[in-house]
């Protein structure tokens, strides 16, 4: 076939737009005086230390939890899975914010109970919080791999004389190593690109320093730092693409039925994780809400968040449609899809830097909502592409053929079969983009028009000013939104059961 599939030209255009930020950064950084100095070296050291500690922490928590949620049978199994996966949905800066003001001398815990606690800050504090919010990556990827393993291999190893624990260690975990690595790399990627947590904890990583440079009008220095960060991100992405999943012989996975007390002990040992990551922030926000009320909070913050995110969700779905269909149409299309995935790897602070500069060059965009929406779309379009593509792929070609031979014209087949069946993917993709954009912090800080305060940026102002009590309402709202996001992600697994009934024509 010499003819290009129809969605290709549009998809190509969108793919080119997706790599635009890097081009902007390169041209901007070339103005920079300093390529690398001792200060840079310290930042690099901090960032790498944070990444390594995050990987260690998330694996230490994620792997045992994966074994537990995959194999151990007991009461309320589903609930524990949801609770243990929940930190994934929560932006870590919420946790960082809550813990920063809870621990340490004069922290909320000391003033409430009188018990002094060590401060959570610096490298160790950042690593702790990062691990607490990224272990679900490791848990989920590892769990998926564990569930795909046939139990007969474990049974064989036990019959050959190994204990259960040694069987898990020598037979099960080695086969899950690729998935553990994939999860750990996702955690590393998160740690590299997150801005809020190291910023609040006062750790000079790339993201924090870029923001400092930006505020000091050192835009080209920020661009240089951004490019350095992107090199590390690219390295992690490259490693991730090399980690292949092993194909397993399908079979029934292992199930373990511990005694009641054993199950209880396991739960107790996991409880601190859930308590730290979810219960503590919510409790602290509740305390502040009761003590300080809703003072300082304006409804317009929530409205601004929702408005910008809604525009981003619609725009992302519109842009994702040709990309998703191009990806199904052929090899070149899949490459275009890969390119749009690039935006997901670009840290928000880097995207912000690039688009701020773009705004300065194109005055009609500067300080407009449109520029912020573009940033959201470029960052989160992979979410929309992914869910649209999944539903469109499941749409069997024979389905449309069946409609045609039953007498439906191409138009009718599209309206009654293709559209309703892909609508779910579009709605789900839009919702994912919406929720992500609602919680986005760095790009919103840099690109929001003057006076355009959102939930996330308001939390940042509260942190800067130290009036932490005022974070109660936006904090709780963000937690609530994250809960919605979690529900959406989990229901994605059961999307087949979504019902979208056709109107009754009789």
């Amino acid at each position: 076939m010499s003819k290009w599939p129809k969605p290709y030209p549009l998809a190509l255009l969108i793919a080119l737009l997706a790599i635009l930020p890097v081009g902007v950064l390169v041209s901007l950084a070339s103005d920079s005086a300093q390529l690398f100095d001792t200060h840079n070296l310290r930042v690099l050291g901090n960032t790498l230390a944070l990444v390594v500690l995050t990987i260690v922490g998330s694996v230490i928590m994620g792997v045992p939890l994966a074994l537990f949620t995959a194999y151990v049978q007991g009461p309320l199994k589903k609930l524990w899975l949801v609770l243990l996966a929940a930190p994934l949905a929560l932006p870590s800066y919420i946790g960082a914010f809550a813990m920063y003001f809870s621990f340490g001398r004069g922290g909320e815990i000391e003033s409430l109970t009188g018990v002094p606690t060590p401060a959570v800050s610096g490298l160790w504090g950042t690593a702790l919080i990062m691990s607490l919010y990224t272990y679900p990556f490791v848990m989920m990827t590892t769990r998926a791999s564990l569930l795909s393993q046939d139990a007969s291999l474990v049974n064989a190893s036990r019959l050959l004389g190994l204990s259960l624990w040694r069987s898990l260690w020598r037979v099960v975990l080695p086969r899950a190593s690729n998935s553990i690595a994939a999860g750990a790399l996702l955690a590393a990627l998160y740690a590299l690109s997150d801005f809020g947590t190291p910023a609040i904890m006062g750790l000079d990583t790339f993201t924090r320093v870029i923001f400092v440079e930006y505020n000091a009008f050192g835009l080209s220095q920020a661009a240089m730092l951004s490019l350095q960060l992107m090199v590390i991100v690219a390295l992690v992405l490259f490693l991730e693409s090399r980690v292949g999943g092993a194909t397993e012989r399908p079979g029934r996975h292992l199930t373990l039925w511990p005694a009641r007390w054993q199950y209880f002990t396991m739960l107790m040992s996991f409880l601190p994780i859930v308590a730290m990551a979810i219960v503590l922030p919510m409790a602290i926000f509740m305390v502040w809400l009761v003590r300080e009320g809703t003072g300082g909070f304006e409804f317009s913050y929530a409205w601004n968040s929702a408005y910008a995110s809604f525009l981003a969700a619609i725009a992302a779905v519109v842009c994702a449609l040709p990309v998703a269909h191009a990806a199904i149409a052929g090899k070149a299309g899949r490459l275009m899809e890969r390119i749009t995935y690039f935006g997901f790897g670009v840290p928000g602070i880097v995207m912000g830097t690039a688009l701020v500069y773009l705004g300065l060059q194109l005055p009609f965009l500067y300080q407009t909502l449109a520029l912020l929406v573009v940033a959201y779309v470029l960052r989160f379009i992979p979410l929309a592409v992914g869910s649209i593509r999944t539903t469109a792929e499941n749409l069997d070609a024979s389905m449309v053929k069946a409609a045609r031979v039953l007498g439906a014209s191409p138009r009718e087949a599209f309206m009654r079969i293709t559209l309703p069946l892909s609508l779910r993917g579009m709605v789900a993709g839009a919702a994912l983009v919406f929720l992500e954009a609602m919680r986005e912090l760095p790009a919103t800080l840099m690109l929001g028009p003057t006076g355009f305060e959102t939930l996330a940026t308001y939390m940042w102002r509260v942190y800067e000013a130290g009036y932490f009590g005022r974070a109660a309402v936006p904090g709780l709202l963000l937690v609530l939104l994250s809960g919605l996001g979690l529900i959406l992600m989990l229901s994605g697994e059961r999307r087949a059961e979504f019902t979208l009934s056709e109107d009754e024509r009789r």
Binding site: S398, A403, R404, V405, L406, T499
Partner: protein, 337 residues
């Protein structure tokens, strides 16, 4: 009456179907069989108008579709039953079956005839494979097609179900009184269900005839082997009789075969006995089939014959036996290769 003339389909430079000619009676069921990749499914898709045709014409009642002037699939009034059922997952069984019907009495009729009454409000995801295929058939027939295409409708079902559903589909098609083309790769299905059988090889129709004729008088050795166990023995054909080492039988010459020929022998054309002095072969292997046993016998002249006998006759491999042609009906004779 469906008439297909010189139908050819190309995929790029490759010719997948080459000059197919068919005519189908008013309620006739034609079984199309052939090995994987022989172009069976391509023919169905071309007849339905789902892929472009490079040559030839298709004619049914009022319409004609040619390579130059193709008719859109929705204008052909053709029904199609898919291998993977192709039920619309967002619609209930009833909505599926009455997809484009204003009046749903036909939908009700076929749903109850196929025993799917109580699943009306169910979504396809909750049905078993056999139920899905019944719904798909009901959907096709309820739209009153002028002819029906079935693309391996039973291949995604388990063996026990296949056997019963095959008859259900046949009788439903006969009740509807529509011509049908049914593609399969299962020879039992082809021989037992159809009124006629068409055997395809590399996009060319090797033979199209009644199941009996295709089985007993195959047009080629390929057809002979494809439709069942086939062995060949050398013989001499003269005046309608073949003389072989294991007996003489009447012959049907294929393609004017004469003189030195190979005769087609099916496992039930022979008889076998042991413990006598005239043995002419040795049992290579035996396969117990329940009601019968299948033996492969290596003949002393180097040929191998297969024979099916009653399960009561049990011999061990290695036993010397005597094989005799005992059939009274004519056997197909092919020119020596």
């Amino acid at each position: 009456m469906l008439k297909v003339s010189d139908l050819s389909v190309n995929y790029g430079a490759t010719r997948v179907v080459d000059k197919l000619n068919l005519a189908l009676g008013d309620d006739e069921i034609l079984m199309l069989v052939g090995p994987t990749g022989c172009g069976k499914t391509t023919i169905l898709q071309a007849l339905a108008g789902l892929i472009p045709v490079s040559e030839g014409s298709i004619q049914l009642g009022a319409w004609t579709s040619t390579a130059d002037k193709p008719l859109a699939p929705e204008k052909r009034n053709v029904g199609m039953v898919f291998q993977d059922f192709a039920l619309f997952p967002h619609l209930t069984v009833e909505q599926n079956v009455s997809f484009r019907l204003k009046n749903t009495s036909l939908a009700d009729h076929w749903l109850s005839l196929l025993g799917m009454d109580k699943f009306r409000d169910t979504k396809p995801a909750r049905l078993s494979g056999g139920q899905k295929q019944r719904v798909a058939l009901a959907r096709t027939l309820a739209h009153e097609p002028a002819f029906v295409l079935l693309d391996e409708p039973l291949s995604n079902l388990d063996a026990a179900l296949k056997d019963s559903l095959r008859w259900e589909i046949r009788s439903a098609l006969k009740t509807a009184g529509v011509p049908a083309i049914w593609v399969t790769h299962d020879q039992d299905e082809a021989l037992s269900v159809g009124d006629r059988v068409g055997v395809l090889k590399n996009g060319v129709l090797e033979q199209i005839d009644t199941p009996e004729a295709c089985f007993a008088e195959p047009a080629s050795r390929f057809v002979a082997r494809f439709l069942g166990e086939a062995s060949f023995m050398p013989g001499n054909l003269c005046d309608g009789m073949i003389t072989t080492e294991i007996g003489d039988v009447p012959a049907t010459p294929i393609n004017g075969a004469q003189g030195d020929v190979d005769v087609l022998i099916r496992p039930d054309d022979l008889s076998l006995s042991a413990n006598n002095s005239n043995t002419n072969g040795i049992i290579e292997w035996a396969r117990y089939e329940g009601g019968s046993r299948l033996y492969a016998v290596a003949m002393d002249n180097g040929h191998e014959l297969k024979i099916r006998v009653s399960h009561e006759t049990a011999f061990q491999p290695g036993t010397r036996v005597e094989m005799v042609l005992t059939t009274t009906h004519p056997l197909a004779a092919f020119n020596r290769e």
